[in-house]
Symmetry: C2
Subunit: 183 residues, 2 copies
């Protein structure tokens, strides 16, 4: 069995939907025993999840309206990769959404978001040496308010299941672990 | 502005794709300023992420081939909700995939997986008082091997970005935090 494809052989492929954000791809695949199945997956270019930490140890979060959830959720700043490295996307998204410029960005890891359905990945980037610019460049669909709190407090919320956005919760914990070990 | 819909008004809706696992829904929506946009989202029934912890403090994980990733990933046992409560789905999936029966299940939290794209949620369930049955009922697409390690070690991997599956990493950390506080 091939280690990379698990012995699954793709014999047909078509896109059911395509957009700049993600696409829906439907494949016909032969399982290792030869059984044909149809597998439909979300093809996603990935995104960054930014953990912006000020010198005083507080983290900059966003309370953002999410249409698919029909509610407002506390999240880390995030945004799609525009064919650029994660650190660069992190700087751009952070400045556009919050008005803070990061002097230092560190890529901490990369995680799959929904491995059975999609190749979607999110890159966790720690942003430090932050300076305010006071200007924003949000898109019309980006309805959000900035919220600051001590990183320690945010991580305690995350560990106890009180940050409902999973990728944000994990990003906060991973950033906290890195900062703790470098102190 | 309505607190729940963010002032967004859905005026049209159609499904581009439907399956037993998830659907793709395309809406025409009016933003609060009246601008019409098209928003396409993945409509998902949710799933459970199980953290099965043995009496000796080790956790039961799976190394599973994921077709969308074209690779094999270390994950917590997981599975779709079949119109049942998360704890019940956790017991069923755990037994089917690993051959362990849980005497005790505890719902620890619920997280959104990709809030800009989908309403997908995963429920984290801690499974304890485990007994082996020795029988499995895996589906043909479930190619996996069981792997045990100390929960402490798995959580250290998760906190340092070395468990690539995001929902699994977060589930391990949340379960560890709960067990730590109850000891």
């Amino acid at each position: 069995m091939d280690q990379h494809d698990g012995g699954w052989k793709r014999i047909q492929s078509k896109y059911l939907f395509e957009s700049r954000w993600y696409s829906l791809r439907q494949d016909v695949v032969l399982l290792p025993d030869g059984t044909p199945i149809t597998y439909t997956m979300v093809d996603h270019p990935g995104y960054v999840m930014v953990v912006p930490v000020l010198d005083d140890g507080s983290v900059i979060l966003e309370r953002v309206f999410r249409y698919p959830l029909q509610t407002t959720v506390l999240e880390c700043p995030s945004g799609g990769l525009d064919g650029e490295p994660p650190e660069q996307a992190a700087k751009r998204e952070l400045e556009e959404e919050t008005g803070w410029v990061a002097g230092l960005t560190t890529l901490l890891g990369c995680f799959y978001g929904s491995s059975g359905m999609s190749n979607e990945r999110f890159h966790v980037v720690l942003a430090q040496s932050l300076e305010p610019t006071g200007t924003l460049a949000r898109e019309p669909t980006e309805q959000m308010e900035i919220e600051q709190m001590p990183l320690d407090a945010a991580v305690e919320l995350a560990r106890t299941g009180q940050i409902p956005d999973g990728p944000s919760a994990l990003a906060l914990i991973v950033a906290h672990a890195r900062l703790g070990s470098s102190r």
